[in-house]
């Protein structure tokens, strides 16, 4: 594992790098996750519109996670 050094500030830099690298992934991941859940529910309940609801909720969830990450409060 890359050693962040002994000083706590440099350690925080590594934490920040990893957290911000997450930004690139979380938005598309949330969108795809929402779509997949909606698609799964569509197949299960024999409906044709839940994928759209899942997709929209996924996009919203992506934004929510993005804002949380950027504001530094993470999930809570």
């Amino acid at each position: 594992m890359p050693s962040p050094g002994e000083n706590p500030e440099s350690k925080s830099v590594w934490v920040q790098i990893a957290r911000y690298s997450q930004l690139a992934f979380i938005f598309p991941a949330a969108t795809v996750a929402g779509w997949l859940i909606g698609e799964g529910l569509d197949r299960w309940l024999h409906t044709t519109w839940l994928y759209l609801v899942g997709l929209i909720l996924g996009i919203v969830a992506g934004f929510v996670e993005l804002i949380r990450m950027v504001s530094g409060s993470d999930s809570e």
């Binding site: 350690k11 925080s12 957290r19 991941a29 899942g54 996670e65 999930s75």
Partner: protein, 243 residues
């Protein structure tokens, strides 16, 4: 029949019958009943056995007066994860260290094993990072429930009660997205690392691939670090007090 590594062939030679029987009992028909164990599974078994032997070796050689090189390495990794957990989760983070250290070693060895000729990285197959991400997901949710009890469900309900019907699906999706992003990041990096090395090996077979093998080692360490760090961040979110 798919191409098999020597260790996969060895495992299939020994266990193909019982494994196919077990899969059929679970109503899963393997694509190749004579070789139901894939390279990714056999490599994981190998990494598991290696880690068990390694941990047993370290345990048997623990010494307060004369710590050996191996003990130094393990104490270094353990200390690093303890400090990082304390920084992110705060006090009472010691209980999570065994899980995080075990997961870190598993992912790291899975990433690095592909550098040895005759082996391949199981993490370059999407199912393996997904398995790690699902394990991390189950672990941090369990710790959340253990810490808060049933009140942990409030984490999914948003700040105001009337927001709950909207927040619940959004929270569920964002938790699933965490698993997905952990999986895709690890898989894509390891797969791309293998591909880049292969492409450059086919273009310039001497010298240049070594650079990319070096890069692959760096990426292996970095991806392990990011996976563990994000798991720690999610754990911190699950066991956080204020809401």
């Amino acid at each position: 029949m798919p191409e098999q590594l020597w260790f996969t062939e060895f495992l299939n030679h020994l266990f193909a019958g019982p494994v196919t029987g077990l899969l059929r009992a679970l109503h899963i028909e393997p694509s190749y009943p004579q070789a139901p164990i894939t390279n990714a599974v056999s490599m994981q078994v190998l990494v598991f056995l290696f880690l068990v032997v390694l941990f047993a070796l370290v345990r048997s050689r623990l010494s307060v007066d004369k710590p050996g090189a191996l003990q130094h390495v393990f104490e270094g990794v353990h200390g690093f994860i303890v400090r990082q957990s304390e920084e992110i989760i705060g006090h009472h983070s010691e209980g999570f260290t065994p899980f995080l250290v075990a997961l870190a070693f598993f992912i790291l060895i899975c990433n690095l094993i592909g550098l040895i000729p005759g082996f391949e990285s199981p993490t370059a197959v999407p199912m393996v990072p997904l398995g790690c991400a699902v394990t991390a997901f189950i672990y941090y949710q369990t710790q959340g429930f253990k810490h808060h009890g049933i009140a942990y469900l409030k984490h999914f309900m948003g700040p105001m009660w009337w927001l709950a019907p909207i927040m619940l699906p959004i929270e569920i999706i964002s938790h699933v997205a965490r698993m997905l992003s952990l999986t895709v990041r690890l898989f894509a990096n390891m797969f791309a690392g293998d591909m880049v090395t292969l492409v450059f090996f086919s273009l310039v077979p001497v010298g240049v691939p070594i650079l990319f093998l070096g890069l692959h080692i760096g990426v292996s360490f970095l991806q392990t670090y990011i996976f563990i760090l994000l798991t720690t961040v999610y754990l911190a979110g699950a066991v956080a007090e204020e809401h």
